[in-house]
Symmetry: C2
Subunit: 249 residues, 2 copies
Amino acid sequence: MTQARVITPLFEDFAKVEHHHQLACQSCALYRLCLPLGLHRDDLSKLDQIIKRSAGFKRHQILFEPASTFKTIFVVRSGSFKTTISAADGREQVTSFYFPGEFIGMDAIYQQRYLSTARALEASSICELPYERLQEFSATIPELQNQLMTRLSKEMSADKNLLLSLGKKTAQEKLISFLLSLSQRFSERGYSALSFQLTMSRGDIANHLGLAIETVSRLFTQLQEQQLLTTQGKEVTILDLPALKQRCG
Amino acid sequence: MTQARVITPLFEDFAKVEHHHQLACQSCALYRLCLPLGLHRDDLSKLDQIIKRSAGFKRHQILFEPASTFKTIFVVRSGSFKTTISAADGREQVTSFYFPGEFIGMDAIYQQRYLSTARALEASSICELPYERLQEFSATIPELQNQLMTRLSKEMSADKNLLLSLGKKTAQEKLISFLLSLSQRFSERGYSALSFQLTMSRGDIANHLGLAIETVSRLFTQLQEQQLLTTQGKEVTILDLPALKQRCG
DNA sequence: ACATTTTATTGACCTGGATCAATGCCGAAA
DNA sequence: TTTCGGCATTGATCCAGGTCAATAAAATGT
């Protein structure tokens, strides 16, 4: 709870955006993490004009589903999202979590329709990038094209690392790898690397890592007993980062 | 063995390439599956000039490793490859298999170095696409840029589907899904969808699917007992495709 | 503030697939 | 054609993590 207070200010920065939908990229708190990074001033203002800043999403609200046709890549502006992919019989796999500055929906470019379902994990807002316009712009702005390819490639790298986790790691290694990846991403966003709020449920984490909820719960208990971290509900505080890094495989 | 004879002709088409390294894309047997698809005649000949057709790779030969710096995207011309990603302690996960017309190394764009190791599964050959030149060309050939993004997105889709397999499917469902994906890809390449040679070992399959070799072996036996397919060593013949599709989850 | 629902924890027990251990098979080298 | 070394198959046993069941503790709505 003490930590929640530390985190609040920046979340509020992002949240303010909801009251200024047409806030320019240049003055966005996410600038250095987001698509426009490295673009020239005038290219940026062109880009600015095609970006639609969308109104807020409520917890559990759906951003897109496999049914919907692909037109847009989404960038998280505030809050967080998860994507899930479904088997024919309804079993779901949580494929990724997305935080401010991250792109959602890039797997839809091939096939021109979304492969997964994206849902808000909390009150969140996004920017919409119309993919066709983005493509047009890319022709004249090489740096934009480069950014898009890099983003695709980055998500692919993350997916391949998750494949390694799911295929070869023990339950404890999976959870530790996951927490370290969150820690890394939070710290890139200016939050503490050692203490953060999980915006997803235990169920989401378990599903994402191919584990049962009960196993995740027991692992948290176990990691606390080993003095590696502490939890209070959704808050995680890392006590021994080096030890965790050493145990993630 | 009878089937091997059916398959041979096309493999030979691809193999001939090794004796004509500078064969133009326009006359390549893979044209309709490959990057140049949809490019105009003159754009294509420009692209042709930057592509290096490489000499043959032997079975187990390494195409690239994580140490090597990224300069090139590879396209399989004949044969097949696997990529593996390693944990700190040496455990490896086979992340993908690649067949003619498929792109290897796209996860290296972000970070500008290869994340994985790529090895030939059999005698194989490739085309090298220098990434920087490709980027330059993309600026003037929108269709090329589109093709690249689509390829990235396609591999990402495949990875997400594998995540679903690894995270939520039973051993049998994993193997069936894998075989159906191979069947699909072989048929796209003009081979039989119902009878094909596995170019990878049981060990590679097991590793890829997060299973033990013994489990894969038992599953093949089991699927044969259920009259769903037959195997003779590396050759698989699907007997009941609808039943398999129904059992893959 | 209270009731209701959802989410998390903990314990007892079970099982799918891993591991260990032979044995069989096939292809390359001589 | 024989021998050798890596693959593949099959059986016996084991265990990490799943499932089932009961609380407990948060969220959420009224």
